[in-house]
Subunit: 617 residues, 2 copies
């Protein structure tokens, strides 16, 4: 696939520079950059070749082989690989930038030092808030990056039609339009697998528009059922899936000609159980791809990105060369980009990592499109120093003003808005509560009995670990508030935590033990454009400002990671010791995952895909 | 890649039938065809799975897995695989239909019984005779086939500009136009590798047009030099190459990210030496593809097609599953068709072979797009019977009248036209002769001394095995005749052999010991629209009529094979015992392969790419 016709920053299409590359290889023209004396990790042939040189011009490889002396001129930059491994830059096969709470530019800046030079991003969250226009902005920001950011057109906004509203909706017309954009690589994960299996016309039309454009349909089959439902889903066209969690899931996907994307995100640990399909069952590894899906800023800052996934796959027993293929050429081939990225070979974008060790994978140097972006090489040797040299460009993409003012609750909230009521004098009531389960995405549908105030208001009960939860509609200013109960956060203080990160429709979720605090937290989000706010005893204890669509910050990753850390510490201070507390909070409205969720339209029994009441009797 | 938007006969795009396939898989709609109880040879996962069923509707797989009972309705055709292997139909990654001297329809008809269900054809010969219009006709005929015939746009007509003329020429404009046609899969082998390496603008523009269209650039690097020239060629964009003959060639191509096509044609034996790159050196097999390049009708009739190549690869020590991948999914992936052909998986075209043995690969049944085209199943068991059942459709593509009248010599030839002259009274002359080397494509530049007649005419000398050779211009009726000498055919009779198959520009080549016979043979070709004619002692002893472009017959393969056999017997009767005599004859004008060739413009010293004289002194 010719992707070079896309106006990506700083890289001309291969088709426009063939004579330059040929001239360099033939020794008629000096290269821009030559890397000498490295060990070429060849993911095409699955070999390591010692004593090799790479010559680069026009951002692409012109020569990959022994002795590129003939490509060196007086102005050629020469890098001594000093026997280090030269690997292709790493590819993340499926991911959401929004999970880092960072704009594309800030996310890219954070992952380049980890060797990620290609990402396949699905701006599903932005699509829910800003619709097609938001996707286009992500697409345009992606094109300005110094590395390769390809965009998947989100397929499911809303995720669960009828059970929630969104800021904007995505349908076949939007998909068809997006497929004409230069940097759209395919359709984002088709999450509505029941709809696909049921033959929903609009969803099938989205798939068809993508297939007609010759692009890749992303899958998302989040069910353990590998029988008829799974087969039917595969027959509809999704070309990959990252929702597998068991070895059998990975095997089933490979057999059906879908690529199994093995996911290690901040909270996803799906590589270890599935990679045995290759390491133990001996399946052809070509259909296995590594990805992150969702990474928090803290993970990027502290643990890494695709380098972390690669190391983990190797720790799980995968041959380092095979693991590297899963993070490079397999991904490129999947998206029809094998002649553009994913290997060190002539004509491809010159994305190279220098590393001293293929198993621990310390990233000494990152070169993207022939530009040295990171250089930790210690003078005189191939070591790694702590400091980061090289020049990661400081890309400043301007999100328009209105995309930074997306939190519209219609009015200021007061404590009364969060009151759950029963008839006066009821005494007590049996209620449903969303039961958060530590380290799991599904919730449980719990029940509890709560006392009512004389005028019929049901309050949180910290003794029972029952908090109030509300979803405040924030896209259209309707003033609509849905209320219910949640258990599992363990809040003991008079507090409230509110966020505009509220998968997937991203209204405001607020959880609290105190209705005044809830109102204050929600109003604070409305004033500041969104993010996370924690209020305790009438004061704001922590805030993560996410002004872009209420989802993303344009501060650097370490800043956002620090803000999130402060927030989590403040939540703990309020009594919440839950692992991944922030994420659990943000998933309370995710009406596609069982059992009980609260949307902007009401409390949803996800097993039956219908509304239910918070108060049973 | 969505190829289904192409108006191929009898197959709707996957995008148009997703709901049908999903309904079948889910058990809501009966399949058209179900194959039960087979061993699924899964080239995606590289596994064999016992006891599996396939359900097919709309020409595509809807269900691949255990127990498709739920897909069977009262009108569903059910086939008992009886424990046989179910493999994908075989793909020929690069080939010239013209080498079989058959039209596309007759070629397809001949190879379907051998399990070939996808071919990537480069109508290079037709392009030389009929130009872009000829390519379009091949393209249109390809679309009418019951199997998948994808067309590569020829890149090099003439093969050697300045050294020969053609009926029509191909340049960047023609390539750009062809890339808009629905069934063009890429650019045909870029044979002019010196031109590419030298930076020839027109050739690079052809590559660029193909890359811009997102299609595959075919390579053809016919040189043992794996140094700068090879690297420069790779940098220009060719994505594959089938000209390798040594293990080192295959390895070099894989390392450069070009796919190594391993060729077993009627006269090419390039698999054995190269497949050790996988079987012994352990390279990742994904970049290796099997192909035939050129198969004569006789080979198709007597030995097979891709089944022959597959068996041979296995005989060479390749794991049968890996060899099968090289003839199915690897090919499909290379051309961006992995979601359309090349594996048994949901949504793909339902091309299936049933066989009892993966190593000897007897083809019991061939199903293409869900239609049973061949069935040799013995009643009551999975055996093979000699007779062929099933229904290969009898496709009748009408080549327009003028494409069947392409032999225009301008005038009738006489013996005088073939006289090589020296000044009267010279006595004898030192001449250059093209030295044919048995079983090799390159010729040698020989010299010999011939007596001259009193009026200065040099005749053939059967004692020295020196025959006359002439190339008669036949595209534009110029009446131009070039003459010279050839050694190696061993003709002892007063005979002449003439053909319009005369690579690559396909004028008339005539070789003879008798100038009258030469004139008669050439005139006979002009009268009959082309082919091969052998004249001995004033009589036509054999003829292979190839009326379509002077290259192809619309008779069935066994008929043409029989005609060719008769011709070769007649050549032997004239004293020619050379192996592949017909092909050696047809290659005498191939001015891109050393050392000495005769074109319609003169005798060519191919080493120096310049003209020379038949008479030295």
């Amino acid at each position: 696939m010719e992707t070079g016709t896309k106006p990506a920053a700083g890289i001309a299409p291969w088709s426009e520079v063939t004579t330059i590359l040929v001239d360099v290889a033939a020794g008629r023209r000096p290269a821009d950059l030559v890397i000498r004396g490295g060990r070429w990790v060849n993911v095409q042939s699955r070999e390591i070749l010692d004593g090799q040189d790479l010559a680069i011009s026009a951002g692409r490889f012109a020569w990959c082989g022994p002795d590129a002396s003939h490509c060196i001129g007086p102005d050629t930059q020469v890098i001594d690989a000093d026997g280090r491994f030269m690997t292709p830059g790493l590819c993340d096969g499926h991911m959401h930038v929004e999970s880092g709470m960072l704009t594309v530019s800030r996310f890219v800046e954070a992952v380049i030092p980890h060797g990620t030079t290609s990402m396949f991003v699905d701006p599903h969250e932005v699509a829910n808030v800003l619709g097609l226009r938001g996707v286009r902005l992500m697409h345009d920001e992606a094109l300005q990056q110094p590395v390769n950011v390809f965009v998947q057109m989100p397929s499911c906004a809303p995720s669960a039609a009828g059970l929630e509203t969104t800021g904007h909706e995505i349908g076949p017309d939007e998909v068809a339009e997006a497929m004409t954009w230069p940097n759209i690589i395919g359709l984002g994960e088709m999450m509505n697998f029941p709809g696909i299996i049921g033959g929903h016309a609009g969803l099938h039309a989205e798939v068809a528009e993508t297939q007609r454009a010759g692009k890749t349909v992303g899958g998302h089959y989040a069910s353990p059922d590998l029988g008829r439902a799974f087969h039917a889903y595969a027959a509809a066209g999704p070309a990959d899936d990252h929702e597998g969690t068991r070895e059998a899931d990975a095997i089933a996907r490979a057999r059906q000609g879908m690529r199994a994307m093995l996911r290690l995100g901040s909270a996803w640990y799906d590589v270890k159980a599935q990679i045995t399909a290759v390491t133990e069952k001996g399946l052809d590894p070509r259909n296995f791809i590594l990805c992150t899906d969702d990474c928090h800023s803290g993970t990027l800052v502290e643990d890494g990105h695709m380098d972390r996934v690669l190391r983990h796959a190797i720790d799980c027993g995968c041959d380092p060369l095979v693991a590297l293929q899963m993070a490079t050429i397999n991904t490129a081939t999947h998206f029809g980009l094998e002649r553009e990225i994913g290997s060190i070979a002539p004509g491809r974008r010159a994305d190279v990592i220098l590393t001293r060790d293929l198993e621990t994978f310390p990233v000494d140097m990152v070169i993207a499109r022939g530009q040295v972006l990171v250089d930790r090489t210690v003078a005189g040797g191939g070591g790694t120093q702590d400091g980061r040299l090289g020049t990661v460009p400081d890309v400043r993409f301007e999100w328009p003003g209105d995309t930074r003012a997306t939190v519209n609750t219609g009015r200021a909230m007061t404590a009364v808005d969060f009151a759950v009521r029963v008839p006066s004098g009821t005494g007590s009531a049996r209620v449903r509560a969303i039961g958060v389960v530590e380290n799991q995405a599904p919730t449980r549908a719990l029940e509890a009995t709560l006392p009512a105030s004389p005028d019929g208001v049901l309050e949180a009960d910290t003794g029972l670990d029952i908090a109030l939860v509300a979803v405040v509609e924030r896209h259209r200013g309707s003033g609509r508030v849905q209320t219910g109960f949640v258990s599992g956060f363990g809040y003991t203080s008079a507090c409230a935590m509110a966020s505009t990160v509220a998968h997937d429709s991203h209204h405001i979720i607020v959880v609290g033990t105190c209705r005044q605090a809830m109102a204050m937290a929600v109003n604070r989000l409305a004033e500041t454009g969104g993010g996370f706010v924690l209020v305790k005893d009438g004061s704001e204890m922590a805030r993560v400002p996410l002004p872009v669509a209420g989802l993303m910050s344009d501060e650097p990753a370490p800043v956002v990671a620090g803000q999130v850390r402060t927030l989590i510490e403040a939540m703990a201070d309020c009594g919440c010791a839950l692992n991944n507390a922030c994420m659990q909070h943000s998933l309370l409205a995710l009406v596609v995952i069982p059992e009980l969720r609260l949307s902007d339209l009401g409390l949803v029994d996800v097993g039956r895909f219908e509304f239910t009441d918070a108060v049973i009797s």
